[in-house]
């Protein structure tokens, strides 16, 4: 890619080869991370284009550019691509792939070929979904609810379902690889409680990936068999139960919410310590709350079916469990903010993204309690309130952290600094653009505007126009990094080992790292986040 002049003897992973083969068939975890970065960026913009059209259409109460059917297809493709082809692989498969071996002092993941295979599987799966989009789209919503998806939909459900099914293998293999790597490849002295919290959180994510994704696979297999072979499983005429479909789907898809947000927590722990120059507040509590979230995440799926014909008692249990999972999430937020206390806080772009995350995630989390209350949910379910709630978590939370991570580790991945001022402006634009987009949707939902309709009463227009205005700010803010990060590849300042003065093994090796990561296997003698940093152990460990 970029031909960088270097004098240091060990060649960086970027210079390790200049052929297409050296990129597309390299088993180097860093190269694969870059492949993921490029491919999910493409998917992000496809999904984003769909969102843009949705917000344009909602400018007018009468719907002025799209038919009903086209609108259904747009929000479906937006959901399918954003969930399975952007959010789920976003932080784990790019930054997890790049950083986990380095953070634990290993040369690569435990199964490098499997890692490469999982990228190819991901791309292969993406082809099916893009094909479904090109030949006419799907109109079921990303949830593929039966019996509509199995018996009535006239969209291209099969290629979409096959694509999501295949992408699941990529997720499972990645999760498996991370779990084994963290268990078996830690450097000497890198005990579990010396691991950076990034690793703990990605480890918890991996557990969910490995145990939840196969349930989605079976569910999609049943849709496939019903549509292709006529084997009805959820057909009410046969006594089949559509609510059973919803149970099976959400048994995966609620844990999947934690697949999407736990990696954001992973990034948060790194950013808050690096820019507060302070040891994390409550290391073990944060580590265990990641595992608690992963475990409890499996026990709350029923809160999606409060009004779908679930027994009141089951609803109560799920409601209580859903309130419970807010506890470990809140613990993390308190610990991150406590980390800043009496620290040397600096407000570089990654930190601005992290602080934005706290604001947005807290709103998303607290509104989650509204919809977890069985009584209130009757009013709010299937309205824009729910849309706003989960966008606050997944977009406000996860995407903010994704961009925070991108800016924070960009110098490590490329060896170049991004320009600071545009980075800060984008961080602020994303925060305020996001607020403007989704705050009005809470009000719309509260007033009763249902999701998935493009026609609405004229009195809702002002709030919808505000939301679309916010979306246009977001569109600019999400596109801008594409330009200035690309610029920085060629003209950015050289980063050096540790531009942030941050702790962690990844900041002790050259930027970009050499193919082997470490010249000699590092021996870890310090706890995680040993702030304030003394310069000596850093330089010594690097060996140059």
């Amino acid at each position: 890619m970029t031909a960088e002049a270097k004098k240091a003897p060990p060649k960086s992973y970027i210079e390790d080869g200049h052929t297409l083969r050296s990129w597309f068939f390299s088993t180097d975890h860093k190269g694969i991370a870059v492949l993921y970065l490029v491919s999910i960026t493409l998917f992000f913009f496809v999904g984003g284009a769909a969102a843009t059209l949705i917000r344009l259409e909602l400018l007018s109460p009468n719907g002025f550019i799209l038919s009903n059917d086209a609108y259904n297809r747009l929000f479906t493709i937006h959901g399918v691509i954003m969930v399975w082809f952007f959010l789920i692989p976003s932080i784990p498969n790019t930054f997890g792939n790049f950083l986990i071996p380095i953070m634990i002092g290993a040369k690569d993941l435990a199964f490098p070929k499997l890692n490469l295979a999982s990228w190819w599987i991901f791309v292969f799966a993406g082809c099916f979904v893009i094909a479904a989009l090109l030949i006419g789209g799907v109109d079921t919503g990303w949830t593929f609810y039966a019996p509509f998806s199995t018996m009535f939909s006239n969209g291209y459900v099969i290629p979409a379902v096959v694509g999501v099914f295949i992408s699941g293998f990529s997720t499972i293999l990645t999760g498996l690889n991370f779990i084994v790597t963290v268990h078996r490849l830690r450097a000497p002295g890198m005990t579990w409680f010396r691991l950076p919290l990034f690793v703990w959180s990605i480890y918890a994510t991996s557990l969910v990936m490995v145990l939840a994704t196969p349930v989605l696979a079976t569910t999609l297999l049943l849709i496939f068999a019903e549509r292709v072979f006529g084997l009805g499983f959820f057909d009410p005429q046969l006594g089949g139960d559509p609510v059973l479909y919803q149970h099976m789907f959400w048994f995966y898809s609620h844990p999947a919410v934690y697949i999407m947000v736990l990696p954001a927590f992973a990034v948060m722990s790194e950013l808050m310590t690096a820019f507060s120059k302070k040891h994390i507040f409550g290391y073990k509590v944060i580590a265990f709350s990641s595992l608690a979230i992963a475990g409890l995440g499996f026990l709350v799926w029923g809160h999606h079916m409060f009004v779908a014909g679930e027994s009141v008692y089951v609803g109560l249990v799920f409601s209580v469990l859903s309130f419970t999972i807010a506890v470990p999430s809140a613990i993390k937020v308190f610990n991150w903010t406590a980390t800043m206390r009496k620290g040397y806080v600096s407000f570089d772009a990654p930190m601005l993204f992290a602080l934005g995350f706290i604001g947005l995630f807290v709103i998303g989390g607290l509104t989650g309690l509204f919809v977890a209350a069985t009584g209130l949910d009757v009013h709010l379910t299937r309205t824009y309130f729910v849309i706003a709630h989960f966008h606050f978590i997944m977009v406000g939370g996860t995407v903010s952290c994704y961009f925070g991570a991108l800016h924070f580790w960009w110098p490590k991945m490329t060896g170049r600094m991004y320009p600071e001022m545009p980075g800060r402006i984008v961080a602020l634009l994303i925060f305020f653009g996001f607020m403007l987009t989704f705050m009005p949707q809470f009000i719309l939902g509260w007033l009763g505007m249902p999701r998935r309709y493009h026609l609405y009463p004229p009195e809702f227009q002002v709030l919808n126009v505000l939301s679309s205005a916010g979306a246009s700010i977001l569109a600019v803010a999400y596109t801008a990094p594409l330009f200035y990060l690309a610029w920085s590849l060629f003209y950015g300042k050289r980063a050096g080992l540790n531009p942030w003065g941050a702790a962690g093994l990844e900041w002790m090796i050259p930027s970009p790292p050499p193919r082997e990561n470490f010249e000699t296997v590092p021996v870890v003698t310090w706890e995680a986040y040993p702030y304030p940093l003394e310069p000596q152990p850093v330089a010594k460990e690097d060996g140059r």
Binding site: P101, A106, L176, R184, L185, A212, V215, G239, G240
Partner: protein, 213 residues
């Protein structure tokens, strides 16, 4: 490539570490597989509970005799697979080869019995979307047979993969590409997978054939 010790890949520091990683990887994979079948069992159990009468009528149409024979065959294959792992550990190549081939043959026998069952059921009209008219009056009985074909099909696919794996191990033993006991871990891992597929059947058989009979 017939090294005395298994080659250590660059990401590992010692052969022991690599073995441990391989084993853990397989166990994690099996946990994932358990959840895959778990969803099938979940659906089956729910419908057993919602439609007990229809499930009883449908279950009674299955051929218990071939079901029991198939189960016995599969359990025997687990024994031969376990013997193969033991032989591999002790480095007895010929013995390992014999029991591995036995495992393949027993696996194929099970698949043959299952395919025979499917054709038999198809002839009775028990494959609801196609073929002769469905003989049972209860609509939910169709539901049962839909799940029956998907669950036994999913199991048969997993067993087919197992047969290919075991045959692959046998072939590399035969051609001396694989040395024992150095590559015991490969036999162990294939064995673990085989036993897993077997255990799935041990749960699937009563769920499909016995619970509502």
């Amino acid at each position: 490539m017939s090294d005395a010790l298994p080659a250590v890949h660059e990401q590992f520091q010692a052969p022991g570490q690599q073995l441990e990683a391989d084993r853990l990887g397989l166990w994690v994979f099996l946990a994932s597989e358990a959840m895959l079948f778990g969803a099938v069992f979940f659906a089956l159990t729910v419908y057993h509970l919602i439609h007990p009468a229809a499930m009883h009528a449908a279950t009674s149409r299955l051929d218990l005799v071939t079901g029991v024979i198939g189960t016995a065959v599969l359990l025997t294959s687990s024994t031969t697979m376990a013997l193969a792992v033991k032989a591999a550990r002790e480095g007895r190549r010929t013995e390992a080869l014999i029991v591995l081939v036995g495992t393949v043959l027993l696996g194929l026998a099970f698949e043959a019995i299952k395919v025979h069952d499917w054709f038999d059921e198809y002839d009775q009209g028990l494959y609801p979307p196609m073929g002769p008219p469905f003989p049972l009056p209860q609509p939910a009985a169709r539901l049962y047979f839909h799940l029956y074909f998907v669950s036994t099909g999913l199991h048969a696919v997993h067993l087919a993969v197992g047969i290919l794996l075991v045959a692959g191990v046998a072939a590399s033993l035969l051609s001396n590409r694989m040395k024992l006991p150095e590559r015991t871990v490969t036999v162990e891992m294939v064995g673990l997978y085989w036993q897993f597929v077997d255990i799935v059947w041990i749960f699937l058989f009563p769920t499909l054939y016995l619970v509502s009979r």
